[in-house]
Amino acid sequence: MIEIRWHARGGQGGFTAARLLGLAASVFCNHYAQAFPSFGPERRGAPVLGFTRIDDKPITDHSQVYRCDCVVVLDETLMETVDVTKGLTDGGTILINSRLSPDRFHFPENFKVITLDATNIAMQELGAPISNTVMLGAFAAVHDFIDIDSILKAVDKGMPENLRSKNKKAIAHAYDAVRGRN
């Protein structure tokens, strides 16, 4: 089972990304998945969490996610007040929306850190600094068990019609950007 934790601020669509990933993995990739937000009142700007569990057998666990294999950070300013590595397994991945390169963050060496200027891609493709779907594309680029087509199908099924086409472009843009490296 893979457990992913999404860090965002209320209103940035962190949970939407967690949900779309779960939708892609389950309905379109033949895995089982579960997605839920950190439960509680959400104020715009307050730190919120999203969780996705993905497995090849039915997921019956209904307790909270304490350990995760991958952390996605949609807003790098969160890292000033939140320890995003808490519960991250040894060798786990950290995906950060940032212009800075990974080594600028000084994470312990046992984590794989990947950065992407998702805000920039979002501005190009969506005209707004909403980086959630861009980071979803980056996630797919980094993990083999989820393919880009499933993510795009998830957008068609899980997002309102007027948002689909530009979000799919944003996802593809991010995917190619990350895949195209090395």
């Binding site: 779960g22 998945a33 839920f36 666990d61």
Partner: protein, 388 residues
């Protein structure tokens, strides 16, 4: 297949049952149910009377009025809302109306809190409603459909409450298969109520009953609940035969065949416990899990029989009847004790107001049960996960 949260699954379940009247009042964490149904109605995907009532008490009154004219009624609530409609719960069950209501399990103030435990519905135990507790979104959808089949059975005519754990079920997205409408129509035909106004045979309804007559009405309710035990099993089989998913009636056992100790729980905690059972079994420990699905009617016969099979029983109560113990534990102990030499019981008070029941908590519970079965001392009632 779709990826839905528990509230959405309930909304689809309700939609498939073609209710005529839905009077509702929103309350976290049930709000998504009523919002989705409102969307269905607005988009003409559901043909029903959606009534924005001013309170939950009114919601149940309106549902009762609807049922009185033979309409299929649905509503949903949680916590304070359930408490608000308390007297109407008695009215509906005593009047024998087959209403189905979804309840999102959330704690009751004070202290005020929006998160999940089962204090709200368990404290309504005696209101004469059938109560089922689901483990996940799929079961939630399926049980809404089954609830009508049970409630509207001639031998039952008792309202049914379908319980989901607040947030953990209601707001968690999982894979859910939404059955086809025509298949549900075949499974659940339109309501032809035998307890409704009929201009050809005028009757008075919801009348008073004097002391000389009242107790006989209560006996009828008692009989209907006894009948329900059989009907629940029949409906489960019929549902499974048609849709391919069986839930095993009042109680589901998980790896209990040769178990020495078992845990009993209701709702989502069962899902988490399955993982712990598998882990401990791999270590050679003979543990089992009992999913108590229906709290009323209570499967007393099952627990009496279980009494002979295991050495210790743990009961997880997401509630506490102050002045005594967990309500579920009380009922289970009473049933276990009706056999000779019953197993010892530990009542675990856990998962209050959304406090997580972790896999570690559950593993700890099993180890305490082994202590008990080996003659070591364990307190009969233990709070799990308390700060100090």
């Amino acid at each position: 297949m779709d990826f839905l949260n528990g509230d959405e699954a309930v909304a689809y379940g309700a939609k498939l049952c073609r209710p005529h009247v839905i009077p509702v009042y929103p309350i976290t964490p049930q709000t998504i149910v009523v919002e989705r149904i409102a969307d269905f109605v607005a988009n003409k995907l559901m043909d029903c009377e959606y009534i924005h009532v001013e309170s939950e008490h009114s919601a149940m009154c309106a549902a009762m009025g609807a049922s009185l004219v033979g309409a299929r009624a649905f509503t949903a609530t949680s916590s304070q809302g359930l408490a608000y409609m308390h007297e109407m719960l008695h009215y509906v069950s005593g009047s024998r109306f087959p209403i189905v209501m979804m309840n999102a399990n959330r704690t009751l103030a004070a202290p005020w809190n929006i998160f999940g435990d089962q204090r709200d519905s368990l404290s309504q135990r005696d209101t004469g409603w059938i109560q089922v507790y689901v483990e996940n979104g799929q079961e939630a959808l399926d049980m809404i459909i089954q609830a009508y089949a049970i409630a509207e059975d001639d031998r039952v005519y008792t309202p049914v409450m379908v319980n989901l754990d607040g947030f953990v079920n209601t707001h968690t997205y999982e894979l859910v298969d939404i059955p086809e409408q025509h298949e549900v129509d075949q499974f659940l035909p339109p309501l032809r109520s035998k307890n409704a106004i009929d201009f050809n045979h005028p009757r008075s309804f919801c009348i008073s009953a004097a002391t000389e007559w009242n107790m006989e009405f209560r006996y009828q309710q008692y009989e209907a609940m006894e009948n329900a035990k059989q009907v629940i099993v029949e409906v489960d089989k019929r549902f499974g035969d048609k849709f391919g998913r069986y839930y095993h009636g009042l109680v589901e056992e998980y790896r209990c065949e040769d178990a020495e100790v078992v845990l009993v729980a209701l709702g989502s905690a069962i899902g988490t416990s399955r993982i712990v059972v598998d882990k401990l079994r791999e270590q050679g420990l003979k543990v089992g899990l009992v999913k108590l699905r229906f709290y009323r009617p209570f499967p007393a016969e099952y627990f009496k029989a279980l009494s002979k099979r295991v050495k210790a029983v743990g009961v997880i109560d997401r509630d506490l009847s102050f002045g005594y113990e967990g309500a579920v534990a009380s009922d289970i102990k009473s049933a276990l004790n009706s056999a000779g030499s019953p197993p010892k019981v530990i009542n675990f008070i856990a998962g209050i107001a959304g406090r997580d029941i972790t896999k570690e908590n559950i593993e700890g519970m099993y180890h305490k049960l082994f202590n008990l079965s080996q003659g070591k001392f364990e307190k009969e009632l233990q709070f799990t996960g308390l700060r100090w």
